[in-house]
């Protein structure tokens, strides 16, 4: 029997060294489900940014706190959720990195990149603790997807 969705889960400690492990898995999954190289590159980056945020800002590098990553390969889209165990935050309260006053800030661009490269990015508080970010990328024919990436870059 064919499953409608396939799920791959991974839990890492709050150490930056593990980000490469997550992105290597990301590359395997995106190529396996048929995203082209361009789309895979940017999905890789969105996942990298979300996991780095979870380690740095969510768990604050606490070695006792993990980061849970779940890839759900659906018929129409790839969905990636990343959960941390930190105190949580209000995503609407973050400074706009495109505000002229913030352009030269050293940090604060990660979520903008995630929103640019994925079709949707949603933050929710987990019922117990921490934040869960859910990102989706539609599975599209190769040519159309490349066009989307180019349009994304130009649009921004």
């Amino acid at each position: 029997m064919m499953l409608a969705e396939n799920v791959v889960e991974l839990t890492i400690a709050s150490q930056l060294e593990f980000i490469d492990l997550v992105t290597a898995l990301t590359d395997n999954i995106t190529h396996m489900v048929g995203f082209d190289d361009e789309a895979s590159y940017w999905i890789n980056m969105a996942v990298r940014e979300s996991v780095a945020n979870a380690i740095e800002h969510g768990n604050k590098y606490d070695p006792q706190k993990s980061v849970d990553i779940r890839f759900t390969v659906g018929v129409d889209a790839l969905r990636v959720t990343v959960r941390d165990y930190g105190e949580g935050f209000d995503p609407h309260s973050l400074p706009d990195p495109l505000d002229p006053n913030n352009l030269l800030n050293p940090a604060g661009r990660g979520i903008l990149y995630m929103r640019t490269f994925m079709d949707s990015v949603d933050y929710t508080r987990h019922a117990e603790s921490g934040m869960v970010v859910t990102m989706t990328k539609r599975r599209m024919p190769k040519q159309t997807d490349e066009g989307d990436q180019r349009q994304d870059a130009v649009r921004n």
């Binding site: 990195p97 050293p106 921004n156």
Partner: protein, 114 residues
């Protein structure tokens, strides 16, 4: 090592040839240290050649911005050379393309200091 940095001097301009990744953690720290060392020894005309950089994340972009502002605040100049397309895309998305002086070839970068 995430990032390999080779230093070269052309007149009074220092060219840092970067190879590898500028990402959160090691790569960003290596870039910060390399530029700080130059500024500490009063070498304030700096070109970062990014041709050999294969990957940059938001932390790496932030590091480029920080090195640019630190150098400028100390009276120096930091310019970028040979940006790979994906780094250019990341700078464009965050409206940073016009912040940096960016050159396609080294001769033009050198001329800009005169």
């Amino acid at each position: 090592m995430q990032l390999e940095i080779k230093e070269r001097t052309v007149g009074d301009v220092v060219v840092l040839e970067l190879h590898g990744r500028i990402t959160i953690g090691e790569g960003s720290v290596q870039l910060r240290d390399a530029v700080s060392n130059l500024l500490n020894s009063s070498r304030q005309r700096i070109v970062l050649n990014l041709e050999g950089v294969s990957y940059v994340d938001s932390s790496g972009i932030g590091e480029l911005v920080s090195r640019y502002t630190t150098t400028k605040n100390q009276g120096g100049q930091l310019k970028l050379l040979k940006l790979p397309k994906k780094i250019k895309d990341l700078l464009m998305i965050t409206k940073l393309l016009t912040v940096f002086e960016i050159y396609e070839d080294e001769e033009s970068a050198m001329q800009s200091f005169k």
